[in-house]
């Protein structure tokens, strides 16, 4: 009996009136965990009952503790009829299972009912006693910490980064069970909420197990998603990055983790076995990989072979996870030669790479594969020096038919399923696993084509419409520093020159990882504008946050590409084929738009790129958001050149000239707006632009079929290669117009999709997180693609305008982490949901933070420290009025569409091994000790600040702290932010992950103010419940908050609506940093200030 869960029901308040006669309520509470239920006494005739119950004790397995939520139901006692439910509270016990997280849950929780919303509050105390040493368990994974944050959490140090972990769990959706026909909507909703809560608990436990097997103790960048597949079931899946984390304060870890200065620097090509033993010790089996039998490889095009059972994927053995030796039948890999030493896993690795890649790879090193197949990292920002080079965005998509694959037997009888679900879908998780496996393999091969051995900023998502599902994955191909990795993991040989001659830290990541003679795509290379030694591409696209050390010229801005494509309504395979045929064009056009908009803003790099493609019955929506910046290290972008199709026509030429002028004006204006004044360089100064093997510009137009004929045009004007837009039909004109319609944010505002805005410093502590949802109904059935595009673009632009307007009182401010999610909930409906945070900053941007700050803060705390030493760019300036450098189109995104598909055959495979196990170390011992002392200080500080902001559990300590905490209010203020930090504060403790799923339904839509009123109150309720849980854990903020899903279904005619929302984040305690400002500024001052306190 490994654990005892104790719960006490203290009191309720603001209960609804359940008895009309007396205008009062006779409330009592049922406390349920697993199959055990306790009840409190009835507290008669009170809307503010005091139960003050005994401690209810549940003796349970720790496995259950991880899976199950504590379920608290408040009921109204009725002598004559059935007791009426008032509402429920689900409490996730998980944070209590971690010794470092919360120790007690105590506070007021909103009592939630899926039909009525929040109905009063209940005060609850929950504790857990674990009997055994946590680490001895293997079924459970108690003690593994989870973080949504996609960087190394503050106050932690990554001793080791183990790599990718993934898992998925499948179940039948209660909403579609036969029993749903006879039960109330409330019962159905509650069954669903409970099931999902169970599934996410189970998922988290399973991932935790994997982490333990790998020898880690935490998951960072934990990303959990739901796929509501309707009748075919419900999938909960998660990915994350396994790490071994260590608190700064603990002294023990310095022993286990060799100091970088003393650690043997990356010995090349140690035997895999050694490496493995070093990591895991003796107990770790090789087979700790995901139970995902390798199935099939997709073709390198991401218009994937749709689903057909006759495809190779059906040929898989349905075997266990260790059966990895099967030879792939895809005809892509030639694994034979490569597999000579490393066994099955190696074969697996090899097979998806191109033949030629393999040869080089095989020759360059012995392969090493640890348990993990995928060198993917969900992190988006990294300790300094971790990221060596960035190749570009890699993405893959695949269209799948849902029910056909996993339960063909059911046919049309689906809705009356009485069959034992488990027998029908026993292999369903494997089916889903195989799908994702395919995608991941494709991503990996793309990364390889870019000469990279890892993918960072990795994420996965789906879009489901009826039975069609688009699976997408994307990330940024990268090379990571071998110094941070376990010895022997890295094939240093092939990339040695880069490490022997370390690049300057602030431009190194821009340098190309691939071979300049065999570029994976047509790109124009130039010598780095900062170090002048390495080559850089002319444009760089990434999914990660801007590295803290990167040098940026001017400010960044949000860049969005939006696209609608109509498609015919269809069923089944026809539909899936149609969709997969459309995908490449969409990717291509989105990419084109991004590129055009980037050029228009005179920028040369995108960070935090997120491309979403959503499928509806009669259309596909694509939305790409990113933060554009001007990287000082990259060449200046050329302008955009407009070319008329029919030269000689005078009218036309005038027209072209007019447009050209508008574009040039726009570029000039943008340069001023974003303060992009790069130092201009002479060619002589730089060395020279790399001679371009094929001196041509690609032409981006909306109609890709015509681009071929134009591709041979020599459009370069002298040395200044311009980016050419061809006007030959109305489409192109539309494109150009849409290019120019994006309004810049009004004065005082900035916006970006990344954590912080490049070029803005001095954040003040004001933040305002918000969620906004807008749904458009397209009444006009005869819409064209252009019409739709216009509508969609306007929708997004208007949303942004609304935000600026609403937040006008907070200027100067920046909307950070603007995360747009599009969906097509029904035919003719387009839904856009946005979550972002407005952060205020000091108008005075002159005082930049000292550059050394980044390094002094240490590995885990860098991303909020934006210091971009602009003087570096000034160094290189020579004032020659030479026009800007050569530019052209570099597709650093490998979007594997046909339109841009590239022959990868000739590329070197420089990085043939993956480095799953990375070691991150503190940089110096001195710094470590500084941190230790600072840590103790911050604890001391926390005590005092706790009194200020009363994150203490309210229930008992209210009398102590509530009276003075807020004057009128007794509710803890809980800040929420999608970022990993709160400006002006320091996170002193992570209390655990918040992962909540709610359903709200109404049958009185009009009375609740229509869909807007309904959703407005639901979102407010979700916020309230998140805040209450955080406060009950003792926290005062949520970081890395995100709303994963917001699924709204409405039927105004029936006066009904239903909505599902899934949110997640990390509950933290943070304290104001004001009196510690100096501490964090420089390492030198740390000691003295600490001493003073």
């Amino acid at each position: 009996m490994p654990g005892k869960l104790k719960a006490k029901i203290v009191a309720g308040r603001h209960l609804p009136v359940m008895d009309r006669a007396s205008d009062l309520t006779d409330a009592f509470v049922e406390v349920k965990f697993g199959n055990t239920t306790f009840k409190t006494d009835v507290c008669p005739k009170s809307l503010n009952p005091q139960w003050n119950s005994e401690w209810f004790k549940f003796e349970v397995d720790d496995e259950d503790l991880q899976d199950e939520p504590l379920q608290i139901t408040v009921l109204d006692h009725d002598t004559y009829s059935a007791n009426d439910a008032i509402g429920k509270v689900y409490i996730d016990i998980d944070p209590l299972l971690c010794t470092e997280a919360a120790s007690i849950i105590s506070g007021w929780f909103p009592i939630y009912d899926t039909i009525h919303g929040i109905r009063g509050e209940i005060n609850v105390l929950v504790k857990v006693e674990l009997f055994n040493d946590l680490n001895r368990f293997r079924q459970s994974s108690c003690g593994v910490k989870f973080f949504c944050t996609t960087s190394i959490p503050y106050s932690y140090r990554a001793v080791m980064v183990h790599g990718f972990v993934e898992e998925l769990v499948v179940n039948e959706d209660p909403e579609y069970q036969w029993i749903d026909r006879i039960r109330t909507p409330r019962a159905s909703n509650e069954a669903r909420q409970r099931l999902i809560s169970l599934m996410s608990g189970e998922l988290q436990r399973k991932i935790g197990l994997k982490v333990l097997e790998m020898g880690g103790n935490a998951v960072v960048g934990y990303l959990q998603c739901f796929d509501l597949e309707g009748e075919s079931g419900l999938v909960v899946r998660a990915i994350g990055t396994a790490c071994t984390l260590e608190k700064f304060s603990s002294g023990s870890a310095s022993i286990t983790c060799p100091h970088p200065s003393t650690a043997p620097p990356s010995n090349a090509c140690n035997s895999p076995k050694d490496g493995k033993e070093l990591v895991f010790g003796e107990e770790l089996p090789l087979s700790s990989g995901p139970p995902t039998p390798f199935r099939a490889l997709p073709s390198s095009s991401s218009s994937p072979p749709p689903f057909s059972p006759s495809k190779p994927c059906s040929r898989q053995s349905s075997s266990s996870d260790t059966d990895l030796s099967l030879t792939p039948k895809t005809g892509m890999g030639s694994g034979g030669s490569a597999g000579k030493e490393a066994g099955p896993l190696k074969t697996l690795l090899r097979q998806q790479t191109q033949t030629t890649l393999e040869q080089r790879g095989a020759s360059s090193s012995g392969l090493l594969l640890n348990a993990r197949e995928f060198p993917f990292f969900t992190l988006t920002s990294f300790p300094p020096g971790f990221l060596v080079h960035v190749g570009g965005v890699v993405s893959a998509r695949s269209v799948k038919l849902l029910d056909r694959i996993h339960n063909p037997a059911l046919g049309n009888a689906r809705s009356y399923k009485l069959l034992d679900w488990n027998s029908v879908t026993a292999d369903e998780p494997e089916t889903r696993d195989a799908w994702w496996e395919e995608i991941r393999q494709e991503i990996k091969s793309h990364a390889k084509a870019l000469g990279c051995h890892a993918v960072v900023g990795y994420s996965e998502n789906t879009s489901i419409c009826e039975e069609v599902c688009i699976l997408s994955a994307s990330g940024t191909a990268a090379i990571l520093n071998p110094r941070y990795m376990r010895e022997g993991c890295l094939d240093v040989g092939s990339i040695d020159h880069r490490f022997d001659d370390p690049s300057p830290p602030n431009c190194g990541f821009c340098h190309i990882p691939y071979d300049e003679l065999n570029m994976p795509f047509p790109a124009q290379l130039a010598y780095c504008y900062q170090c002048r030694r390495q080559k850089v591409p002319d444009v760089l696209f990434t999914t990660i946050d801007l590295p803290a050390e990167a040098a940026v010229t001017g400010k960044g801005c949000l860049i969005q590409a939006r696209l609608c494509r109509l498609k015919k309504k269809a069923q089944g395979e026809v539909n899936a084929t149609a969709i997969s045929n459309l995908l490449p064009f969409m990717e291509y056009e989105l990419h084109t738009q991004l590129m055009n908009k980037l050029k228009l803003r005179s920028m040369n790099a995108l960070f935090g790129l997120h491309i979403q493609i959503s499928v509806g019955e009669n259309m596909l929506l694509g939305l790409a958001s990113a933060t554009g910046v001007y990287l000082t290290a990259l060449p200046a972008p050329g302008g955009i050149q407009i070319a008329g199709k029919t030269p000689g026509d005078l009218n036309n030429e005038q027209h072209v000239a007019a447009i050209q002028k508008r574009i040039n004006d726009a570029i000039a204006k943008n340069k001023e707006l974003y303060q992009i004044n790069p130092p201009e360089l002479t060619d002589e100064g730089v060395g020279s632009p790399i001679p371009e093997p094929r001196q041509r510009s690609r032409i981006f137009r909306s109609h890709s079929e015509s681009s071929d004929e134009l591709s041979e045009l020599d459009l370069s004007h002298g040395k200044k290669d311009a980016f050419v837009l061809e006007i030959d039909d109305t489409d192109a004109v539309e494109d150009i117009h849409s290019l120019l319609t994006d309004a810049p944010p009004p004065a005082g505002f900035h916006s970006c999709s990344t954590e912080t805005m490049p070029g803005i410093y001095n954040w003040t502590s004001g933040i305002q997180m918000f969620t906004s949802v807008r749904v458009l109904r397209l009444n006009n059935t005869n819409l064209t693609n252009q019409g739709l595009n216009k509508i969609f673009t306007d929708l997004c632009e208007n949303l942004l305008k609304s935000f600026y307007f609403k937040l006008r009182s907070t200027v100067p401010c920046c909307l950070c982490h603007l995360n747009f999610t599009v969906a097509v909930p029904e035919e003719e409906l387009v839904q856009v949901s946005v979550t972002a945070v407005a952060m205020t900053f000091d108008k005075d941007q002159n005082q930049e933070k000292p550059p050394e700050k980044a390094t002094t803060k240490g590995g885990s705390e860098t991303e909020d420290q934006l210091q971009f030493p602009l003087e570096l760019s000034a160094d290189s300036s020579s004032t020659s009025p030479q026009p800007s450098k050569i530019s052209g189109v570099a597709e650093n995104t490998i979007v594997s569409t046909r339109a841009v598909s590239v022959d990868y055959g000739s590329f070197a495979d420089r990085c043939s091994t993956w480095l799953e196990l990375l070691r991150l170390k503190a940089h110096t011992i001195r710094r470590g000790s500084v941190k230790t002392s600072r840590r103790t200080q911050s604890l001391a500080h926390s005590v005092s600040s706790l009194e200020h902001c009363s994150p203490l559990p309210e229930g008992r300590s209210r009398s102590l702290c509530s009276s003075r905490s807020f004057g009128v209010g007794s509710v803890t203020m809980v800040k929420m932010t999608p970022l990993s930090f709160l400006p002006g504060t320091r996170i002193i403790k992570y209390l655990g992950i918040i992962n909540m799923f709610f359903i709200r339904e109404t049958t009185s839509l009009r009375e609740e103010g229509g869909v807007s009123g309904f959703l407005h109150s639901f979102i407010a309720e979700v916020f309230a419940m998140v805040r209450a849980h955080v406060a009950a854990l003792g926290g005062n903020a949520v970081v890395s908050y995100s709303m994963k899903d917001c699924v709204l279904m409405e039927n105004p005619n029936k006066n009904q609506a239903q909505c599902l929302i899934n949110v997640s984040g990390d509950a933290v305690i943070c304290v104001r940093e004001t009196d510690q400002e100096q501490t964090t500024n420089t390492g030198q001052t740390c000691g003295t200030i600490d001493g003073a306190t």
Binding site: P110, Q768, F770, L776, K801, F803, V968, G969, M973, H1016
Partner: protein
């Protein structure tokens, strides 16, 4: 193409004070948008009417959701649904309970009943305050009336604590409750010139001096009847005692003596001396009669109209200045102390103190 749904929810609830005021004033969303456009929001910030509409709708929804909480402001502080910083909460409550003086003037002293509520559209038409706003204000009066009705203790303090209002607003509500409870007649034509603030001041005087609570604080703490409504009802004992003042007008000697004392004091100090002298007996009779009749509920209701008819109007027709009135009343009150046969000094002071300050307040155009 139509916007089917449009919401914006902040973790900290965003509320625009200007829109809040428009909402409180009962503007419809469209009227509010128009008002905001005229207010020039769009000029100072580059935005379109759509944006303004969307923002206004969001705000209106938020206010509507908040309204339930505002009905019991204490809940606003410990509810979990909206995260509102304390100073914003204070603003929300204060504004929600703020009222229009023109409106309150119409319902002052009326029974806060359904019947009155039905008349609100007339009042709305008359005052120019929107019906919606009238209803909110009326409901606020009623709500506060109901709550304090059942509470013991000082009226102003009760209102302040239960509705978290500022001192000023709490005092105004105390006046409204006091007027509603005693049903003072305020609607007569002759009283039209008196503003709500005048009445509120008078109510404050009455509450502080003529109720049981007023005595309770200083004099009668020992009395075991810590009566409910001690601030709302006039002190019955005191009203009885007022009958004794009748001697001032019934006793001819006393009346003459009083007059000569006052006239001596006033002589040469005012231009209106002749009128004062001529009217002394009338005026004195008027004031003392008011005092002696206050045991009748009906006459309590007519208290203000009596003051106007019996004192203010005669003075005004003789063109007394405010200073004249002040001078006269001061000497009138003080001279009574010198009358050796007049034994009711305490009651006289308690009565005249209030009368004096009420008349001062009410003596204007």
């Amino acid at each position: 193409m139509a916007v089917e749904l449009d919401v914006f929810v902040g973790n900290t609830t965003i509320m625009d004070e200007e829109v809040y005021q428009l909402w409180l004033d009962g503007y419809t969303v469209n009227d509010a948008v128009r008002a905001r456009m005229e207010g020039g929001v769009l000029d100072e910030f580059d935005a379109t009417a759509d944006v303004l509409l969307s923002d206004t709708m969001d705000q209106y929804r938020t206010f509507q959701m908040c309204e339930r909480l505002l009905h019991s402001p204490a809940k606003l502080a410990n509810q979990l649904l909206f995260q509102i910083p304390p100073h914003r909460q204070t603003m929300l409550i204060e504004r929600y309970y703020a009222f229009d003086d023109v409106f309150v003037r119409e319902v002052l002293g009326k029974k806060l009943s359904k019947g009155t509520k039905k008349d609100l559209d007339d009042i709305s038409a008359k005052t120019g305050v929107t019906l919606k706003s009238c209803r909110r204000q009326f409901d606020n009066f009623k709500r506060i009336f109901k709550v304090v009705e059942e509470l013991k203790g000082p009226l102003v303090e009760n209102i302040r604590q239960h509705f978290l209002l500022s001192d000023k607003l709490a005092r105004d509500y105390a006046a409204i409750v006091f007027f509603a409870n005693n049903r003072f007649e305020t609607g007569k034509k002759k009283l039209q010139y008196i503003t709500f603030q005048d009445f509120a001041f008078c109510a404050g005087q009455l509450i502080n001096n003529w109720t049981v609570g007023a005595v309770g604080e200083g004099l009668c703490k020992t009395k075991n009847n810590m009566v409910e409504d001690m601030d709302v009802d006039l002190d019955k004992e005191f009203l009885q005692e007022l009958k004794e003042l009748k001697v001032l007008i019934t006793d001819k000697d006393l009346l003459d003596q009083h007059k000569s004392l006052v006239c001596t004091a006033l002589r040469g100090k005012t231009k209106a001396f002749n009128e004062m002298e001529a009217n002394f007996k009338n005026l004195s009779r008027g004031l003392v009669n008011i005092a002696t009749k206050l045991t009748n509920t009906k006459d309590v209701r007519d208290f203000f109209i009596d003051l106007v008819e019996k004192f203010i109007e005669p003075c005004r027709s003789d063109r007394w200045t405010a200073a004249d009135v002040k001078l006269y009343l001061t000497h009138y009150t003080n001279s009574a102390h010198i009358l050796d046969t007049f034994k009711h000094q305490v009651v006289w002071d308690r009565y005249m103190g209030v009368i004096k300050s009420c008349i001062f307040k009410m003596y204007h155009d």
